[in-house]
């Protein structure tokens, strides 16, 4: 089943990247939604950068950072004797970076939609910020989480430019479905390209359909 290997790699990448995005994205979204810091707008701009940067720019800087002579790459090389560039783990790092604004902005919008009085009611009932976040805020913004998760999952499966630059095209390691399609088209192997493309198209469509169906049923506050 060698032909399925790129698809499996794509899904594996998404399945690992999405929980990492949730772990990093929720605190960032909470900060951006509720912080009264004067510098918040700067952080907002930084978080949203990957939305507007060409993938090649993100890829270029990641290559610079993680190459054996780069800031991070040289440390990893000397301390742990690992080289991340052109391996699966760098794809995970890349996926977290280029998906970060999708996750953060979705959840931030959810946090901002919660009426202040619900949060204040929880505080006056003696509940800490953490308890309020876990028991009141997160359960009430499930659609925002669903949006973030689906967008990041689909975007990871679909990303091409960054992945090609930092991961290369190594079968079984970094040749994800989007890169495999490019490869097959280059080789004029249209049948294999069709196979991967149709699966990606169907999966993406089904995921978005689920997202919109579920969110349509959800009533706001």
């Amino acid at each position: 089943m060698e032909i399925l290997s790129p698809l499996w790699l794509s899904f594996k990448l998404s399945i690992i990247a999405v929980p990492l995005l949730l772990l990093t994205g929720v605190p960032a979204a909470y900060f951006l939604a509720f912080s009264k810091s004067r510098f918040k707008h700067i952080w907002e701009a930084v978080v949203s950068l990957p939305l507007v940067l060409p993938p090649s720019v993100i890829g270029f800087y990641l290559v610079l950072l993680f190459s054996p002579n780069g800031y991070i790459g040289s440390v990893l090389k000397s301390v742990l004797d690992v080289q991340l560039l052109f391996s699966f783990p760098i794809l995970v790092i890349g996926a977290v970076i280029f998906n970060f604004p999708f996750m953060v902005n979705s959840i931030k919008a959810g946090f901002e939609s919660i009426p202040a009085y619900l949060i204040e009611a929880s505080y006056t009932l003696g509940k800490s910020k953490k308890e309020t976040l876990l028991k009141i805020m997160i359960p009430n913004i499930k659609p925002a989480f669903l949006t973030g998760i689906v967008l990041c999952f689909a975007h990871t499966v679909g990303e091409f430019g960054v992945i090609l630059m930092i991961g290369g095209n190594i079968p079984g390691s970094t040749r994800v479905a989007s890169v495999a399609i490019y490869n097959e088209v280059e080789a004029l192997n249209y049948n294999a390209a069709h196979f991967h493309s149709l699966i990606l198209l169907s999966v993406s469509f089904i995921m978005l359909l689920i997202l919109y169906t579920v969110n349509r049923k959800y009533k706001g506050f």
């Binding site: 009426p115 009085y117 619900l118 204040e120 009611a121 929880s122 505080y123 006056t124 009932l125 003696g126 509940k127 800490s128 028991k135 009141i136 359960p139 009430n140 009533k219 506050f221």
Partner: protein, 275 residues
């Protein structure tokens, strides 16, 4: 015993003004903060609850200081044990009626109070319903009951009945009195409705533009003839002329009032009133 002294700069529709309040509340006092909207009533409640910081002043409960601008003490809302009922009810939509009450329980607190409050507030039958299925009156009863779960040191009610019709309003007033007598907790109610003030509170504090204009019992404040004329704000619905007398039909607080006005009197009405 509560001692409250607050100063805060507020901005209203008519420009900035200073909230300046000095209030002491003894155990089981029922005080109404009465006054036009935008006079700083809600801000007073928010300052007591710890949701808004005053610019200056102090809030003391017994020997415990909740806020002191000089000593830089400012307890969080969580540390104050205040019951606050919001205008918007602030019920948690993902919890059932029972879960909304249970959420308010302190760690290790006896759960008996949940059933007791469900019973007193007549919500037992609805304990498994979500708030969105409740009527306005039921939502308000739940919000009230939830504020009593922790047996707070003080209960703050922010316009608790402004969205309710008159008959529901009356029921909630009775409900508030019932809970007040049962748990003996001092209450401050913010309202701009005279019946709330008259029926509920023992003492009324009249706030205008952030300042206390008057305070005392209802009869002290409103029954002194020399003090104030009766004042109503209404809308003229129709004017009919009958045997030389004009009959004005005026809508005042959902009530129609018929007022007869003679030819001489009509001369004295100025145009803004005529509209």
């Amino acid at each position: 015993m509560f001692e409250i002294k607050l100063k805060k700069r507020l901005s209203g529709t008519g420009g900035d003004f200073d909230l300046n309040l000095n209030l002491s509340i003894v155990e089981d006092d029922f005080i109404s903060l009465f006054g036009p909207s935008g006079s700083g009533k809600t801000t007073v409640l928010r300052c007591i609850a710890g949701l808004t910081d005053p610019d200056e002043g102090f809030i003391k409960f017994g020997n415990k200081v909740w806020f002191d601008s000089v000593k830089k003490i400012n307890l969080t809302p969580q540390e104050r044990n205040v019951g606050l009922v919001f205008q918007e009810y602030a019920l948690f939509p993902h919890f059932t009626v029972r879960e909304n009450l249970e959420y308010a329980l302190d760690k290790g607190q006896d759960r008996k109070i949940i059933d007791e409050l469900l019973y007193i507030s007549d919500l037992k039958e609805l304990s498994d319903s979500k708030p969105q299925r409740l009527s306005g009156g039921q939502k308000q009863r739940l919000a009230l009951a939830r504020a009593f779960v922790r047996k707070p040191s003080i209960l703050l009610l922010d316009e608790p009945m402004c969205a309710l019709d008159r008959s529901t309003r009356r029921k909630i007033q009775i409900e508030i009195l019932k809970l007040y007598k049962r748990y003996n907790i001092p209450i401050i109610i913010v309202s701009h409705d005279m019946t709330d003030v008259f029926k509920l509170a023992q003492k009324t504090v009249m706030l205008e533009n952030g300042k206390i204009m008057n305070s005392g019992t209802f009869s002290e404040m409103f029954n002194k003839e020399s003090d104030r004329k009766s004042e109503f704000v209404g809308e003229i619905i129709s004017v009919q002329k009958n045997n030389g007398i004009y009959i004005f039909t005026i809508l005042v607080n959902e009530n129609l009032i018929k007022l007869s006005v003679s030819d001489n009197e009509i001369e004295n009405i100025n145009t803004s009133q005529k509209s």
